[in-house]
């Protein structure tokens, strides 16, 4: 069963991250640094405005997703473990699905730390906390399907570090717009706005998950 293999890959990925949490540490540190630096660059007053704070948070999350995904595949490439996974029947689908699931869990943790940091540093008052959690969960679900897709396409290529953001960020534009507006809506108390944008994020995650599971296995050699 492919689903069982997907779970196994996700579990293996999570265990590897627990044993050697360099991807998680790098992503959390990166998000924290970026939120701090961006807030200083635009000024604390401007950074505390809900739309600005939301945009800073999601831009940091997008880059953290790229960083964590790249690190995750680097670990596979370093010891050629990826070749063994790909050689298994159904291994290609499982690799994509497993990586996406594991990265969703990792990014949820990064979002928690980054979100708390934003709340404290920017003194944000949340009008609709449950709506905010919904938007953030939906936003976290939408990042890995896209980023894993582009990291997979760029595997073993020259200048991969530059190529992945160039490919992924334009595709993530609808996600970033929806996540920023949804988060700002939840902070300011616009319930219908938060739910609407959150729904769009769930749809985005579903579309790219299906697309990724359908065609990414073809790209894996």
């Amino acid at each position: 069963m492919t689903l069982t293999r997907i779970w196994r890959i996700a579990a293996r990925e999570t265990l590897a991250e627990r044993g050697q949490p360099d991807g998680l540490v790098a992503a959390v540190t990166f998000v924290a640094t970026l939120i701090l630096v961006e807030s200083l660059a635009v000024g604390p007053l401007a950074a505390g405005q809900p739309p600005v704070a939301s945009a800073l948070f999601w831009i940091a999350m997008a880059f953290a997703a790229i960083l964590a995904t790249t690190r995750s595949f680097d670990r596979e490439l370093e010891d050629d473990a990826i070749d063994a996974v790909l050689a298994l029947p159904g291994g290609r689908d499982a690799l994509y699905g497993g990586k996406v699931l594991a990265l969703m869990a990792l990014l949820a943790f990064v979002a928690l730390i980054g979100g708390l940091l934003s709340l404290v540093l920017l003194s944000l008052a949340i009008a609709l906390p449950f709506h905010l959690v919904f938007v953030i969960v939906a936003g976290v679900l939408g990042l890995p399907p896209v980023v894993v897709l582009f990291v997979t396409l760029s595997l073993r290529l020259r200048a991969r570090g530059a190529l992945v953001p160039i490919l992924a960020l334009p595709v993530l534009v609808p996600h970033l717009v929806a996540a920023t507006n949804g988060t700002a809506a939840a902070i300011t108390g616009d319930a219908s706005g938060a739910l609407g944008w959150g729904g769009l994020l769930v749809a985005f995650a579903l579309v790219y998950s299906v697309l990724g599971l359908t065609i990414v296995p073809t790209a894996l050699e």
């Binding site: 396409l153 190529l163 334009p170 595709v171 790209a219």
Partner: protein, 233 residues
């Protein structure tokens, strides 16, 4: 396993015919756009930029849909000719998307008062341009013929999602950009008949130019592929 086929001689023969047809069609379309069609009641002769701007945008859509179809065909058959069609169409699409943005900017200055506006159609077109520049970059960074073709085909399928987003962005969001005047949901163009005829003539002329460029570029790519396969033995 990658499959190679010889360069079809029919496309080589078609090139001069398409070249001559492009010149004639462009000449007729330019006459219609610059002399025969009336000026706009509000914009005057500035409106004439519409004929090249819209035709450019149409070609960009067409080119990226061809990339999508050729990508599916490549993954299905593994025939290198489809990879050649995809790269040729992507390059032409990027060129015409760039021209669409530049011409749109030139048109925006007298009508909107600015060179650039952060409105949905303009921004989504710029994003589409960036996506396909990324597509070409991915191709250039890969050395292996088969690997490059497969990865590019997957990307060519993923990126086509942006084409309907660009077209429908003006109806989904509040936009400064004009709503669709020809490809409307109710199929009733809202243009003056002479303007519409000139626009259709220019679009046909640009499509013939696209066909000519495609034949020429595919031919170059097929030679390149043949050299790589030959060198590989």
């Amino acid at each position: 396993m990658i499959k190679s086929i010889a360069t079809p001689t029919s496309t080589v023969r078609a090139r001069p015919i398409l070249g001559a047809a492009s010149i004639v069609a462009l000449f007729v379309a330019l006459w219609m756009a610059l002399i025969w069609s009336p000026p706009d009641a509000a914009m005057g002769s500035v409106v004439r930029i519409l004929y090249v701007h819209v035709a450019n945008a149409w070609l960009a859509y067409l080119a990226f849909v061809v990339v999508f179809l050729a990508s599916i065909a490549y993954l299905w058959t593994k025939r290198t000719v489809f990879d050649a069609i995809a790269v040729a169409s992507a390059e032409i699409g990027v060129l015409f998307t760039g021209l669409t943005l530049i011409l749109g900017s030139i048109w925006a200055r007298p009508t909107w008062g600015v060179w650039w506006s952060w409105e949905p159609r303009v921004v989504t077109t710029a994003v589409m341009f960036a996506m396909y520049v990324g597509y070409l970059l991915l191709r250039n960074l890969s050395d292996d013929l088969e690997r490059r073709a497969t990865r590019a085909a997957v990307l060519g399928i993923v990126l086509v999602v942006d084409v309907p987003i660009v077209h429908l962005s003006v109806t989904w969001m509040n936009a400064l950009h004009q709503l669709p005047t020809v490809l409307r949901p109710d199929l009733s163009p809202t243009l003056d008949p002479r303007m519409l005829a000139s626009l259709i003539a220019m679009t046909i002329a640009f499509t013939i130019v696209y066909a000519y460029l495609m034949v020429a570029r595919v031919e170059i790519e097929r030679r390149r592929q043949a050299r790589i396969i030959e060198a590989r033995g």
